[in-house]
């Protein structure tokens, strides 16, 4: 199934990528080429086959609920693009003037 330019734009929004018109056009071609190869998987008769999400048969891995040392605030904020020294600073997201995201 060929992917349209409109679909590329929709997927880019889902993926939070601001693509240029040129990128949209190129990605459409590239994704169609890759999907053309991958599409063979849709012709396989896999009726009744259980899906594998994980290579090992693992059970829930549970730890005791105890407080342990973790990253200090200083280290957690060390790589932040914008911070007031106590928190990550971001554009306003609620209330008047906030974005609609």
């Amino acid at each position: 199934m060929a992917i349209s330019e409109e679909q590329v734009r929709h997927v880019a929004l889902l993926a939070r990528l601001a693509l240029t018109d040129e990128q949209v056009a190129n990605l459409g071609d590239e994704l169609n080429s890759i999907l053309g190869h991958i599409d063979t998987i849709q012709n396989l008769d896999l009726e009744g086959v259980e899906p594998t999400a994980h290579p090992l048969e693992t059970v829930n891995s549970i730890r005791s609920d105890v407080v342990k040392p973790c990253l200090s605030r200083e280290l957690a904020l060390k790589n932040a693009p914008d911070t007031d020294g106590t928190a990550f600073v971001i554009p306003q997201i609620v209330g008047p003037g906030g974005g609609d995201a």
Binding site: L17, L31, D39, T40, I41, V49, L56, S61, A76
Partner: protein, 518 residues
């Protein structure tokens, strides 16, 4: 500066020399750093060289030895299994005191704030960190050309790629700018560069090594593993990093066997009684070069000569491996890479109008073309209306691939295929067509989908090009001992010299010659 040639020393030699006082860890580190200074401008295996960390670690090893002697103890019992061994670390693994960039612009300035468990264990065993190795951005690629900081060159031929995504980790070991290194393997990213650089490269069983502190790509596929120039060194490195870790819930609880002993047994005892299966349908696949195929057939003959029972086997579902992988891998990657949003770390756009604009432009500016391609492919495959047709179907195909292996390991201890369908290709040769690049991993991908361990060992040089060919040896879940035994038996039989004809002494000359040729 010391005069000895580090390219002639294995990790086992180095530990022995340091333990006995034949030389110091500092001398080894200095000789290695001198080699890096000479060769790195031509090879570009590293994103960051860490001389201060290296010398500090080397001095700590030398002090431990002195302290042991002062305390009347045998340094052999006190020093770690990798004491004094220079190591490269793929740049997707955190180490405090280094940047962890994943060769991506979006993480260009990211400073590690904690240590990756595998790296910590390697250093705790006495390894000496030489630097952070170049890679394809976020491990997306098979050539290291997708690095935002420029490609790594293959030490066997500087105009060729070292493979990828762990190309820097492979190249630094190949050129003896490190004795061992760590890489990560999601679809072949350790084994394929191992094959292309003539090094030994190990993808352990899924869960064998903790992934804590390694930037995630495909969470049901990723494994950390070592590169070395000998099977013995790769076994020692895996033994150091393997084992359960409370910080990674997917790390396996199984005890870690003595891999070094298994390798030693293989090297001396041959392969008597080992059941070796040659995977005929994969070997006959289109796109596999005749010389690569001949090398694998020759390997099967060598195993027969060593006393193995060699037979044929097929893995028919693996024909769908590439399709399943290029759905599952990007799907998992698109989820994992959602964390790079310009909020807590990484690149943020200058003047966001609102938070959606911040996300969208920070990501578009920070990710390279292949990362964007994979995120888009994965997001599409997971999106409403396509999920069952792609992701659901791929997960079922994955079950069939796994079942093929389970069935094959009832009859065989190890399975043989080429690691890569071709020898190292030229820089730029495949970068225009993403699909062409994806085909490089046709032999390695089924192993990740199933979750079994595999090793790539040099199988000799290609007669026409003189470039290394890799043999992939696959084993059953948690059967790394059998894998190392089989690999060491083969290694001992072919007597391959893992050092490319790129010598420390002539490095400057080689570089000049390369530049002249361009």
């Amino acid at each position: 500066m010391s005069e000895f040639d580090v390219s002639r020393l294995t990790g086992a030699h180095i530990r022995e020399g340091v333990v006995t006082g034949q030389f110091t860890a500092r001398e080894v580190a200095e000789a290695t750093l001198a080699r890096v200074e000479a060769l790195e401008p031509t090879v570009h295996a590293f994103n960051q060289v860490t001389p201060e960390l290296a010398l500090e670690a080397a001095d700590a090893v030398d002090s431990s030895r002195a302290q042991a002697i002062a305390d009347g103890l045998d340094p052999r019992d006190v020093l770690g299994a990798l004491a004094g061994v220079p190591a490269g670390i793929k740049d997707n693994m955190n180490l405090v005191g280094t940047r962890t960039t994943c060769s991506a612009k979006i993480l260009e300035n990211y400073e590690s704030v904690y240590d990756c468990t595998a790296v910590r264990r390697l250093l705790d065993a006495g390894a000496v960190p030489i630097g952070k190795c170049n890679m394809d951005e976020f491990a997306f690629g098979s050539s290291t050309e997708n690095s935002a900081f420029g490609p790594t060159h293959n030490p066997w031929d500087l105009e060729r790629v070292p493979g990828g995504s762990s190309g820097g980790s492979a190249a630094c070991v190949s050129a003896s700018m490190a004795t061992i290194s760590l890489g990560s393997d999601t679809g072949g990213s350790i084994r394929q560069p191992g094959a292309l650089t003539g090094t030994v490269a190990v993808k352990p069983t899924y869960g064998r090594v903790s992934r804590y502190g390694c930037v995630a790509f495909g969470s049901s596929l990723d494994q950390i593993g070592p590169f070395a120039r000998t099977v013995e060194d790769s076994a020692a490195a895996l033994a150091a990093i393997a084992g359960a870790d409370p910080m990674d819930a997917t790390s396996a609880q199984q005890a870690v066997p003595n891999y070094v002993r298994a390798a030693a047994e293989g090297a001396t005892g041959g392969a008597k009684g080992l059941r070796v299966g040659i995977v005929t349908d994969l070997l006959q696949a289109d796109g596999c070069s005749g010389e690569v195929r001949a090398a694998v057939e020759n390997a099967a003959r060598i195993y027969a000569d060593l006393g193995a029972e060699v037979g044929e086997v097929t893995l028919p579902a693996s024909a769908h491996g590439l399709s399943a992988y290029y759905i599952i891998g990007p799907a998992e990657a698109s989820s994992n890479l959602a964390r790079f949003d310009g909020i807590r770390y990484g690149h943020r756009v200058e003047d966001p109008t609102d938070v959606l604009d911040l996300y969208m432009r920070s990501r578009a500016e920070g990710f390279g073309p292949e990362s964007i391609r994979r995120i888009m492919l994965g997001t599409y495959a997971l999106s409403a209306g396509y999920y069952e047709a792609y992701y659901g179907q791929a997960q079922k195909a994955r079950t069939l691939i796994k079942q093929d292996f389970e069935s094959a390991f009832k009859d065989f201890d190890v399975l043989l295929t080429p690691t890569s369908p071709t020898v190292a290709f030229k820089i730029g040769e495949k970068s225009a067509d993403p699909l062409e690049m994806y085909l490089s991993d046709v032999y390695t991908i089924p192993v990740n989908l199933a979750g079994i361990p595999a090793i790539s060992v040099p199988a000799g040089l290609c007669p026409s090009s003189g470039l290394p060919i890799g043999l992939q040896i696959m084993a059953d879940y948690f059967a790394e001992e059998t894998m190392f035994m089989a690999a060491a038996a083969f290694e001992a039989a072919i007597e391959f010299d893992a050092r490319p004809p790129l010598r420390y002494e002539s490095a400057r000359g080689t570089r000049a010659a390369q530049e002249e040729r361009r």
